[in-house]
């Protein structure tokens, strides 16, 4: 069953056609990698799906519902989790408090004036941190984390609303190769257990071929190929982009 449908998305920046009529879809439980060279339009696509920027044209459907232009906070309520290319967390809080706040928000209790935030949802927070392998770091201020751990923390926060769809923009950038596979194996596990769809961008082809069910290739804002790993691997257009004209 299709969960996410991208329908002719467009975005211009002045003369730059950052995304030019891209359409594809993601099925429930499917892991799709969005790949392409630098400046291909991957992040722009992600931001249009995630509600950070408004498309100039086209639609985004989630489970059949039109969510084009809905703000990120509304998508969070509809079961979309998101991590960013440049990982951001709340620097003045501990690792656990970051996750607790995401859980509080999911329970619609983030605006309460009373009660200690640090006492809230302790058990769920512990479980989420354990799931991403951060339980030993729970009480550390999160601005002291290594970058790889910041990425894991972002993932834990993105999972706090028990999402149907996870959007991950370069989830493993800045990590050591071993860490990359660990993190993506974790994501794959969660995806399989919870029937969670994952759309991610990635520059590391090992990660892509190791963890994507399907691959969508962008170049200069256009969709040039999509399909299974095998189909994409042999696609002449993809070869040309990645290996240069001579190939």
């Amino acid at each position: 069953m299709t969960l996410l449908t991208i329908d002719h998305l467009e975005k211009h920046y002045g003369g730059v056609h950052a995304v030019a009529g891209v359409s594809f879809s993601v099925a429930s439980g499917e892991r799709v990698a969005l790949i392409g060279p630098n400046g291909a339009g991957k992040t722009t696509c992600f931001n249009m799906i995630g509600g950070q920027i408004r498309p100039d044209a086209g639609r985004v459907l989630l489970g059949g519902e039109d969510i084009t232009g809905a703000p990120p906070r509304a998508l969070f309520r509809k079961g979309v989790g998101r991590t960013f290319q440049i990982a951001t967390t709340f620097g003045s809080m501990t690792v656990r408090e970051n996750v607790q706040l995401a859980l509080l928000s999911h329970a619609r209790r983030a605006l309460r004036f009373l009660g200690e935030a640090t006492d809230a949802a302790a058990e769920e927070a512990r479980a989420l941190l354990a799931a991403v392998g951060l339980e030993t770091q729970a009480t550390r201020p999160c601005d002291q984390l290594a970058y790889g751990d910041v990425k894991r923390l972002e993932l834990a926060m993105a999972l706090a609303n028990a999402p149907r769809l996870l959007l991950m923009d370069e989830p493993t950038a800045g990590m050591a190769p071993r860490e990359r596979h660990e993190l993506m194996a974790l994501v794959s596990d969660i995806s399989a257990q919870r029937d969670l769809s994952v759309l991610f961008t990635e520059h590391d082809m090992d990660v892509v071929f190791g963890h994507a069910d399907r691959i969508v290739v962008l170049d200069r804002g256009r969709l040039v190929a999509q399909g299974s790993q095998e189909e994409v691997r042999v696609d002449p257009e993809v070869k040309r982009i990645y290996l240069g004209e001579s190939a």
Binding site: M93, A110, G115
Partner: protein, 625 residues
């Protein structure tokens, strides 16, 4: 209104616009390059006026004497600006931006008292410009020659600055630094001298503006804050960093003010509208409108928030049980104070409690919210006036007034906050200032209701609280309770959401937190607390006047919060008590309390760039990073 009236006012307005532009362009240049919001810019202007008058007197009444005085005053102020940069700001460019702000507040205090020492408290009239005392005839009106000169000077200075920025290497560097600071560093430009020289240029422009006003406006000790608010308005309306924008904004404000004067009192649909009364407020209304419609002024671009420098975010821990036990014990000890203190000390302690609450409420916005308010006195003032008016005009009991005041202040904060959270950084701070000035000028002008500049007198506590000791107990109980409530909210989910919006806006949004809404709600919460402080203040003094919400009160609040440390819970309380007590202590010994306080703050800022409590904590922890 006749056409002749309008023309006369218009000429006057345009002449004002010219000096306003000179003043504002200096501020804009300095901000553009160094990112310092220099509150002392108005003080430099004031020194320009005083200095020019003083020099003109000593140089004799010739044309040469007058113009030498103007030039020497401008150059002197330029030197002073460079000195201030070298002695103070240079040392703290690496400190959080809010600390630089605090340092410039301290300079304002110091300069004001130095001016008082040198030139005395009386206003000083300046000489007229020899050779330009006449008037030219235009449409049957005589226009002062000096005004014509000023009107011509504005565009000339704009042109000269444009040429400087576009045709010289120095100018190119200034522009490059304004657009991208890192790039200048990368190019290997000697930033040190660039910053100092820009400070000199900007300060010189302020000095020139002040000097040129000497025949038109007497030198007075209030000029500094008037000038800085006017300059802020122009720079913000025009767009930070844009000279052209500042020029347009100065013109617009000059013309609109002139129109208000020229319109005078008008009968409209049976109402009598006195437009000339609006002149005090019209520029702030213009600023509020501009920011509401164009959040970055006519020609400005978005800026990041006024923040602590990266890495300077203090990790806020949830207070342990021990903290609350100690806090309660201190409150209980304070209740015993009347056993050992005389009336004088009790009144001072009452003041300390009131300002501690005021500072804590400002800190609620600035600390967890990252929302710097330059106009927090507005809520203090609204609370004060609500209580005073209820008591005097409606004969309400003290209890009712104390209950109603926070609601009144919260209502204002709800409205102001709705506009403010649409902006960020300096623009947000400026909009809060504009709102505070609007409220202040309404209180000042609306004689029939607020008593105008005389204010209201005879607002005394109910008999059961009239005794100094009883009133002290009431104040301590209410202030401690309100502060504890604010602290609880900071550590409740709401406080975390507020911090989340400050730490990482995008991430907060992505986990379902509506950052603007959270920030909006923070305004009435802080406003209510400030309103309660204001109401208690009225009853403790027995009277109130518009200066309960003058800019200087907002600045006091900022100094208290920053002195103690923004990223600590108890810092603002310590800052408020220190400030209130020091002010009283110094005032008993010398009238130059601002000088001493300003120097003390400068010393503290240079010694403890993280605020008193923050730095102490660091020292106690043994210098851990």
């Amino acid at each position: 209104m006749t056409f002749a009236d309008l023309l006369a006012q218009l000429v006057n307005g345009l002449a004002n616009a010219s000096t306003l532009f000179l003043l504002a362009s200096g501020l804009s240049l300095i901000f553009g390059v160094t990112r310092v919001v220099n509150f002392a810019h108005g003080s430099l202007y004031m020194i320009g006026t005083y200095g020019a008058i003083w020099l003109a007197e000593h140089l004799g009444g010739s044309g040469l004497g007058f113009w030498s005085a103007v030039l020497m005053a401008a150059c002197g102020v330029a030197l002073l600006g460079a000195l201030m940069e070298l002695a103070v700001l240079k040392r703290i460019y690496g400190a959080p931006e809010l600390f630089q702000l605090l340092a410039t507040f301290a300079v304002v205090l110091v300069v004001k008292d130095v001016a008082l020492m040198v030139w005395g408290p009386e206003d000083i009239l300046g000489p007229r410009a020899p050779g330009l005392t006449g008037a030219v005839e235009l449409a049957g009106q005589s226009i002062p020659e000096y005004d014509v000169l000023l009107i011509a000077l504005g565009p000339l200075v704009l042109l000269a600055l444009k040429l400087l920025l576009e045709r010289t290497r120095w100018g190119v560097l200034i522009r490059a630094a304004t657009e991208d600071r890192e790039m200048v560093g990368a190019l290997g430009v000697n930033q040190v001298w660039l910053f100092t020289s820009v400070f000199a240029l900007g300060s010189g422009l302020a000095g020139l503006a002040g000097a040129l006003q000497m025949p038109r406006e007497p030198a007075s000790l209030g000029l500094d804050l008037i000038a800085i608010t006017d300059a802020f308005v122009v720079v913000v309306v025009g767009g930070l960093g844009s000279l052209g924008g500042a020029f347009l904004a100065a013109l617009l404000i000059g013309i609109v003010k002139a129109l208000c004067f020229a319109l005078g009192t008008v009968e409209l649909f049976g109402f009598t509208l006195n437009f000339s009364k609006l002149t005090l407020v019209v520029e702030f209304v213009l600023m509020a409108l501009t920011l509401a419609l164009r959040p970055w002024g006519f020609a400005g671009r978005p800026l990041r928030g006024l923040r602590e420098a990266p890495g300077a975010i203090e990790h806020v821990r949830t207070p342990a049980r021990r903290f609350w036990v100690i806090a309660t014990a201190i409150a209980a000890l304070l209740a015993l104070l009347p056993a050992v203190a005389d009336d004088y000390a009790l009144v001072l302690a009452t003041d300390c409690a009131i300002f501690a609450l005021f500072a804590a409420s400002l800190h609620f916005l600035m600390g967890p919210g990252g929302l710097t308010s330059f106009g927090h006195a507005a809520y203090f003032g609204v609370g004060a006036y609500a209580a005073g008016l209820l008591a005097k005009q409606a004969g309400a009991s003290m209890l009712l007034a104390l209950v109603a005041a926070p609601f009144a202040a919260a209502a204002f904060a709800l409205v102001f906050g709705w506009f403010c959270v649409r902006l960020t950084g300096v623009y947000l701070a400026m909009l809060t200032l504009a709102f505070a000035q609007i409220v202040w000028s309404v209180a000042w002008q609306w004689d029939d209701v607020t008593g105008g500049s005389n204010g209201l007198v005879g607002v005394w506590p109910a008999p059961w609280a009239a005794d100094k000791t009883h009133f002290y107990w009431l104040t301590i109980a209410l202030c401690a309770g309100a502060i504890a409530l604010l602290w609880r909210v900071m550590h409740a989910p709401f406080g975390y959401s507020l911090r989340a919006g400050r730490d990482a806006n995008l991430r907060a949004d992505a986990i379902g937190i509506d950052v603007k809404r959270v920030q909006w709600i923070a305004f009435p919460a802080a406003g209510a607390a400030a309103g309660l402080a204001g109401a208690l203040y009225v009853y403790s003094k027995g009277s109130l006047a518009p200066d309960v919400m003058a800019i200087s009160r907002s600045v006091d609040g900022l100094v208290m919060v920053l002195l103690g440390g923004v990223q600590t819970l108890t810092g603002p309380i310590v800052g408020a008590v220190l400030f209130t007590w020091l002010q009283d202590e110094i005032l008993r010994r010398t009238e130059y309390w601002r000088l001493i306080l300003g120097l003390a703050i400068l010393g503290l800022v240079l010694l403890f760039p993280r605020g008193v409590v923050g730095s102490l904590r660091r020292v106690l922890r043994g210098g851990e990073a």
